[in-house]
Every structure is written in structure tokens, then in C-alpha cells.
Subunit: 326 residues, 2 copies
């Protein structure tokens, strides 16, 4: 896993993934007490950064493997990314999704032409299901984060951050990244190590699902006690990956942990101030910048707003609770 793989992914992705904007707002700066630069991956195709990793992996397949089709397991964002990448390459995709994933994510994945297989997050092992189906049908498994080609694709976010931060004159130390299994976080960390080494990546997680933060503190992989029951469904994973964790450990600063309520509050702020729809799991890094600034270094901060695939009811709840004071 190195910068060359990320740059190769960037070449394959060019013209397919969007170069998403780095947004700012004087109102957000005021709340945060410093300038905040928001890398808005909710505006990526399929509504999250996951399209990058999916495209990176699918576009690297040999002809025969491409023809046979791909399989992925995902709470929804990776699912949509793989489904769209597969469709644009004219091949088939099977997606294994938890039965409690947001309805919108399941519907969208089907609408993008994928075959959806649902499983129970608490009683079934998605890795086992994925391995079985892929061997039965000769499909190539595209893992959601613990896969170098996927990490390379997500790392293209970091290449863009390095360029855009320089363009906008961001004087940041910390880059806050919404973190599940660590694919996005490790990819960005590798890209910045090469392109903007003064920037330090810091994973951000929701309360009770802070496996990466605890793993970084302990120096070894720690698991979450629970793997369901969070609004931040996009970034709830059992533990950091075997590929991602060594990268996180080598390159990242300490993790930050954010209460779910602050994610809802940050969604209302993104609505009011950026005109962007964020999902709870895509808002944790912004929440950290807005409400946990005492744990951040530097005059400026960069945050990655990683996705916007949220059901209308959850978004309305955020606005009902926090729309007035955002």
C-alpha cells in the first residue's frame, strides 16, 4: 500500500468520480472558533466517497473477472458505489446488506441494478456470507475497506484535499475523517503523507463505536462491544482492518469520539450553512470540529463530510431538534 497505488487509482477515476468541493462558511467558523474547510464527499456520485474505492477496484479487474461479476458487503454506501461502478462497466453486482440498513440505501442499491442479499447484523457474519457466495458463483469480492485497491480509491480524497487546501490557503494541522473500518482514513493518511506531510489525519467515531480510537490508544486492534443500534450506520464496523490498522497506527493522530446528538446537530448546521445533506455517520467529523474543538490543533481544520445517504425521517429529526439554532 503506497502513494503510487493512490495515484494510479486517481488516473483510473479521473472523469468518473467528482472532484468534490472544499466548502467553508463564516457561520461555521464562528461556531468552531477556527476556520473549517469541509471536503464534501456527500456530493460524490451515489452520495458518498465509497464510489471512489468501488471504481478503483472494479476498474482494476481483468476482463474475465469483470465479466463474471462482483460481490460486496455493505451497510449501504459501499453497496451503492459498487453497484454503480459495476453497472457502468456493464457487469453484475451482488450486494450483501444488513437488514436494518436505511431503506433508502437498500432501495438505491437495487435501483442501481444490483442483486441485494439481506442478513442479520447481530447473528450472522457478513464475511462468511460474502466468502460463500463469491466462491459459489465465481464473483470477485470487493471488500468495503480492508482491500488495497479500495483504500487507494478512497485515498484520492486525500490527493484532492492536499491540492484544495493549498489553493484555499488552509493553515491546518488536523484533518478529521469519519472513520468506520478505516479505508477512507488510511487512504487519506497515505495521500497526505506524500503530498502534504504537515497535515495529520485524525479518525472521528461516534460514541460507543470507537474501536479505532481505542485501538490507536492501545497500539493494537480492539473490537466494539456492539455492532448495531447507531444512527451512524455508515461507519459502524466491528474493528479496524488488518490492512488499514497498521497504516492508521503509523500515520494518524489520536481519535476523537462524538456523541450521536452532536452528529444530528452538525447535520442541521450543514443544512443551514453549507446547503448540503449529511447522514449522521457522514457528519461525525464536522461535529468534532464544531463541538469538540478543544481537542483539535491549529488555526484551521479540515473535515471530511463523507456521505449524505440519510432517510428523510432521520434528517427531519435533526432539523426538528437543531434546525432553529443552526
Amino acid at each position: 500500500m503506497n502513494i503510487d497505488m493512490i495515484e494510479a487509482a486517481a488516473k483510473r477515476i479521473e472523469g468518473h468520480a467528482r472532484r468534490t468541493p472544499l466548502l467553508t462558511s463564516p457561520f461555521i467558523d464562528k461556531i468552531a472558533g477556527r476556520r473549517v474547510f469541509v471536503k464534501t464527499e456527500a456530493l460524490q456520485h451515489t452520495g458518498s466517497f465509497k464510489f471512489r474505492g468501488a471504481w478503483s477496484a472494479v476498474s482494476a479487474l481483468e476482463q474475465d473477472a469483470l465479466k463474471a461479476g462482483v460481490i460486496a458487503f455493505s451497510s449501504g454506501n459501499h453497496a451503492q458505489g459498487v453497484a454503480l461502478a459495476a453497472r457502468e462497466y456493464g457487469t453484475s453486482a451482488v450486494i450483501i446488506m444488513p437488514a436494518d440498513a436505511p431503506a433508502m440505501k437498500i432501495d438505491n442499491t437495487r435501483a442501481l441494478g444490483a442483486e441485494v442479499v439481506l442478513y442479520d447484523r447481530d447473528t450472522e457474519d457478513r464475511d462468511e456470507i460474502g466468502d460463500r457466495l463469491s466462491s459459489e458463483r465465481g464473483l470477485t469480492l470487493i471488500k468495503p475497506f480492508d482491500e488495497p485497491l479500495v483504500i487507494a480509491g478512497q485515498g484520492t480524497v486525500g490527493l484532492e484535499i492536499a491540492e484544495q487546501a493549498a489553493e484555499l490557503g488552509a493553515d491546518a494541522n488536523d484533518v478529521l475523517v469519519c472513520c468506520g473500518g478505516g479505508g477512507l482514513t488510511s487512504g487519506i493518511a497515505l495521500a497526505l503523507e506524500a503530498k502534504a506531510p504537515s497535515l495529520r489525519v485524525r479518525p472521528v467515531e461516534p460514541e460507543h463505536f470507537d474501536d479505532v480510537t481505542r485501538s490507536l490508544a492501545a497500539g493494537e486492534i480492539k473490537r466494539n462491544a456492539r455492532t448495531s443500534g447507531s444512527l451512524c450506520d455508515a461507519i459502524i464496523t466491528p474493528q479496524p482492518g488488518n490492512v488499514t490498522f497498521p497504516i492508521l497506527k503509523r500515520l494518524c493522530g489520536p481519535g476523537l469520539v462524538v456523541p450521536e446528538e452532536n452528529c444530528l446537530r452538525a447535520m442541521a448546521v450543514a443544512f443551514s450553512r453549507l446547503k448540503v445533506v449529511l447522514e449522521p455517520g457522514g457528519a461525525v467529523a464536522l461535529a468534532a470540529a464544531l463541538y469538540h474543538g478543544d481537542q483539535i490543533d491549529g488555526d484551521d481544520v479540515i473535515v471530511v463530510a463523507s456521505g449524505g445517504n440519510v432517510d428523510a425521517e432521520v434528517f427531519q429529526m435533526a432539523l426538528t431538534k437543531y434546525g432553529q439554532d443552526a
Copy 2:
């Protein structure tokens, strides 16, 4: 009023206004029955395209006039644009706003440092108030649309559309533009006349406030019967301007008129499919593409989503009504 003024405005604006993205979604294409390219000015600074015209006008002031300060009348989007441009130039702004403007717009305008003067939309004449205050205090009046420097700034949207449509391979005939007094519409029309003459601008208005559509059909300026009572507050004006109308008449295709309900529905679609917050008046052009496609020519269509400054309650109403089937 010509393309040179727009290109000069583009130079002054560079590095200050955002080059907003031209977004697409396969789900939107399916509803519309053709490819739809959405120029997302809701992502502009201050949440609407108005920042462009404001910056264009403020940045063209002589030193003395700049020091004395500016004045503007606006239902809210122009207000915020002028307030921010004035603040960044270190001068003062007085903004005359209707008392029934969305609370968010009034609050934001004040928060951006402007002095806000409220008036009654039905019984008072904002032009009269503006003229009086500007002469009393020596302020330069920056009109919201009927002013060449403002039109030139809005026209930079058209320069970007011409470039981005070519980059993305959009094969469009019609460019649908949310239309109030015609500043954005005439600016884009002038830019496209020079840079992409195969594209034809078509103004889109909400039902009952279709002064431009009727004026174009009649070949002369027609007024609206009412000037308040619409959710599409951003684009409710008494009649097209004396500067804008001749441009609209020379360059635009027929107007389109959209029921308010379809604007709310389009807001829900933009939420689900683009992850972008639109206000009702900023969604009329998308509504026309989605639900009035029989009046549009071409395999593709370009729409301008002009603003996103909407109060949380109105946005929630759109999601409650239409969030499920978007």
C-alpha cells in the same frame, strides 16, 4: 450589456465566488426521461448565485464610493450576497428587506454585518425606500437585478455552464433558469449567446408569479397581480426589469410555469438524489425538468438550482410531503 462585461466580472470574481458543480443523478434522469445537469448555485457563498452579482458590483466601485458604503433591497439572497461582499471589502451595507422574508435570510444578513431595514411588501415601495436612504446617506444602491454590473456577475454562471456542459458532454438545447426579475436569466443568456449559442435559456417561474413568461409571450412587460404569498420568495418580483427584459426578449425561449407543489417535490428529489438543499424558488427549474418535460426540447437538459436559503420548517414540509417517493 455585453459579453465583455461578463468576462470582466469573471476576472474580478475569480478566487472569490465558487465554481459550483454541475451535478447529475441516474435517479433524476429516470424521473425526467432525459439526462439532467444541475448547476448547483445553492452551493455558492451565502447559499445562492446572488453573491456573484453582489461581488461584481461592489468590486467595481471607486474607492470613495466603496468607503461610503452600499445599500440594497432584497427578499434575502441578494441581501446576503451584498452583505458578505461589503464585509469582505471592509465597508458597510444597509439592506432593505420585506418583513415577511424567511427568518433565516434576515438573521443571516444581520449576522454578515449588514444593517437591516424591514418594509411591508404589500403597502410600501422598496424602490422608493432605497432611493431615499441612498441619497440621505450617500450610499451606492446595488439593485438586485436591473443593473448591468449585477447582470454581468450573474452571467458568470453562464460562462461556467458553457465550459462544464462541454466537459460532461451534455447534449442540451434548453437551459432552465429560476427567474425573478431576470438578472440571472439575462446574464446566463448573454454568456451562452457568446460561448454556447446552441443552448437556449428558458425562464422558469412559479404559478401566479409568471410575469416574465407572460411578458415574453406578449412581447412587452407585464406585471404580477400579487407580489407576496409564495413559498418561492426568492424569485417573486413585480415585473421584469427595464434592463433585463430586452435581453430576455431577444435571447430566451418561452417561459415555463410550475405549481408550487412541484417545487416542494423537486426539493425532496434534490435532497435524496443530489444531497443538496434547495429553497422553493431555487427549485423551480429542476421542477420543470422533472415534471414538465413535455415542454422541453432535447435529449439532455441543463437546469440552474439557484439557491438553498430555506427555513427548516419549509424544508421539513417538503420532506414530509414528498420525501418518501423521491
